[in-house]
């Protein structure tokens, strides 16, 4: 078996910004002293005059992005998820969301896969925060191909968008000619009849591996990549509930308020089915290598496999 190509989606973000910058003069990138980590440094190298480093001041950065947007620029404000969604939550809500300004927030280093920096930097709450803001689009791409397409789609969408990227290199699973990114449209990556796994971000590739293992045990698992958490593809959830009657959500985020909660909202109101939420269980993370943390917090393929098997 050939080696699986792995790329961190934050890297995809930086590369996609450069492509976007070449095509559109109104793209401007903001950062808060993390250009090397968020990978906006790649954009800075290509377009130094359109890269604005705001220093370590995320609240102001979001406000500056809002001001730029009022003049027709399309700002991509970038920082770690903890600071973009956490520290600057109220600025995102009041200066970007309320006036519905065309600001894109590129949040990298989301979830526990931040790794060694530990709990203070591992944001497992950003999706919950962002999806409560009226009109905010929330996207959590699964791999390099999807992340780049998501950046493009975010630019094309007029209005605020929150893009969630990871620090850890993850397998490229969408590298095929048929791949197409549609905002708010879930992608069924594997057909199945016994259970549906709805995942986003790095748990998508882990879920695919888990489904393969489940198949060996005679369990047919459908795997859906829910790259857009808001607006959620409700049809896909309703269809899955009708088809398999058992839904598992898998996300690198708190089980409170994220993808799992969004899916449960739909299931409870429109398509009653059994649901198991896999995610970070209302706890802080800790320091350690990302791969070990994903295992310890139950988000790797083996953990998903075991939990789904017990659930079915």
């Amino acid at each position: 078996m050939s080696e699986v190509k792995k790329i961190a989606t934050r890297e995809s973000y930086g590369n996609a910004l450069v492509e976007l910058g070449k095509k559109h003069d109104n793209v401007v990138v903001l950062d808060a002293d993390l250009a090397a980590a968020t990978k906006t440094g790649i954009f800075k190298k290509a377009f130094p005059e359109r890269h604005i480093d705001c220093g370590i001041a995320e609240s102001n950065m979001i406000g500056v992005a809002a001001g730029l947007a009022t003049t027709g620029m399309v700002p991509f404000a970038s920082s770690f998820a903890m600071f973009a969604a956490g520290r600057a939550f109220e600025q995102v809500r009041n200066s970007v969301g309320y006036p519905k300004l065309n600001v894109k927030i590129g949040a990298t280093h989301a979830g526990i896969s931040v790794g060694e920096d530990g709990a203070t930097h591992q944001c497992n709450e950003d999706i919950a925060l962002m999806r409560t803001i009226p009109g905010m689009v929330v996207i959590n791409p699964a791999d390099d191909v999807e992340a780049k397409a998501a950046v493009e789609a975010a630019y094309e969408h007029v209005g605020p968008v929150y893009l969630r990227f990871g620090r850890l290199a993850v397998p490229v699973i969408n590298d095929n000619p048929d791949y197409k990114f549609e905002l708010g449209k879930a992608v069924t990556l594997r057909e199945g009849t016994d259970v549906t796994i709805i995942a986003s971000g790095l748990t998508v590739s882990e879920s695919l591996v888990a489904a393969e293992k489940l198949a060996a045990d005679g369990i047919s698992a459908e795997v859906i990549n829910m790259h857009t958490i808001k607006p959620l593809d409700e049809e896909a959830v309703i269809k899955a509930a009708a088809k398999t009657g058992k839904i598992v959500t898998a996300e690198e985020h708190s089980v409170i308020g994220g993808l799992g909660s969004a899916v449960c909202d739909v299931v409870a109101e429109k398509a009653p089915a059994k649901v198991l939420k896999i995610g970070v269980n209302d706890t802080y993370g800790e320091s350690g290598p990302a791969v070990e943390l994903i295992k310890k917090y139950g988000l790797d393929a083996d953990s998903i496999y075991e939990k789904v098997k017990a659930f079915v």
Binding site: S59, N60, G67, L68, T71, P75, N94, S95, Y98
Partner: protein
């Protein structure tokens, strides 16, 4: 406008603000009145804006960072012709476009939604940066309260404005010395305000915020400054123009009843009549 015309217009703005707050039975008269002369100067003398084309690309921008003093701002926009003066009485009412705090989506002439203190100045900095990036000639103005500058975000924004030498940006501080919990120095002193902005590479001008000669000179001076943003620290009187509201912290955020409204309007009418004698 000449000085006398500006004074008359500022008096109309004050009447509009008080009428709006009285009608809404809530709102912020004190800071609306302290800033009335500055609002008036900006919209009737300083800024390049067109009420018939509120979104024209090369217009000067204004961000009311101290968004709660919207009644004074709205009264200014209405008198300028952005919307009917009669609509001021719909302030804060269900279904009205005149929200309690500025809403750029629905109010003609409003360049940025604001109200959560400390955030407006950042948006103004973003607008000024955009002008620099695009070689646009418009200027950006933002009005802050002296209590508001206790917000840390204000200094994040000031640092970036100074660092990027935004000479197309003018920050005005309405220094009426009062905030909800008392005088600003009692609560958490921001003084010396001028030295703080100077330290962030601003050109600073201290003025009497009710003296149109001083206001005029300050904004003209700001236009000449290159390589630095300007901060105008305007010493003002909270509640200016209404006898019982002047320097009274209780009028920060409460509405006059019918009796008080009559007194307030009589005060302002008297000022107006005196100005007409000049």
């Amino acid at each position: 406008m000449n000085k006398l015309e500006l004074m008359k217009m500022a008096n109309e703005v004050r009447k509009g603000a008080i009428t709006a707050v009285h009608s809404a039975k809530s709102g912020h008269p004190g800071g609306s009145l302290s800033a009335a002369d500055i609002y008036t100067y900006l919209y009737f003398e300083e800024m390049n804006v067109d009420p018939k084309d509120p979104k024209k690309a090369d217009r000067d921008r204004f961000v009311l960072s101290k968004g709660h003093t919207a009644p004074g701002y709205y009264a200014t926009l209405a008198n300028k012709g952005f919307f009917p003066v009669e609509d001021l009485t719909t302030l804060r009412k269900v279904g009205s476009y005149l929200q309690g705090h500025p809403d750029m989506k629905h109010i003609p002439g409003v360049d940025m939604s604001s109200g959560s203190l400390g955030q407006g100045i950042s948006a103004a900095v973003g607008m000024a940066i955009s002008a620099k990036l695009n070689d646009a000639s418009y200027r950006v103005y933002t009005l802050l309260g002296d209590g508001e500058i206790q917000e840390g975000q204000v200094w994040e924004a000031a640092m970036l404005a100074g660092h990027r030498k935004l000479d197309n940006l003018v920050v005005i501080v309405d220094n009426n010395n009062l905030q909800i919990d008392g005088t600003v120095e009692e609560v958490n002193s921001p003084y010396p305000i001028d030295k703080k902005f100077e330290a962030f590479n601003f050109h600073v001008i201290n003025i009497d915020g009710h003296d149109f000669d001083a206001i005029d000179a300050a904004f003209k001076e700001a236009r000449e400054i290159k390589g630095q943003p300007t901060a105008i620290i305007a010493k003002t009187v909270k509640g200016k123009g209404v006898s019982f509201m002047e320097n009274q912290v209780s009028w920060h955020g409460s509405a006059p009843n019918d009796e008080q409204y009559a007194v307030a309007m009589a005060d302002l009418e008297k000022v107006g009549e005196a100005l007409c004698q000049k």
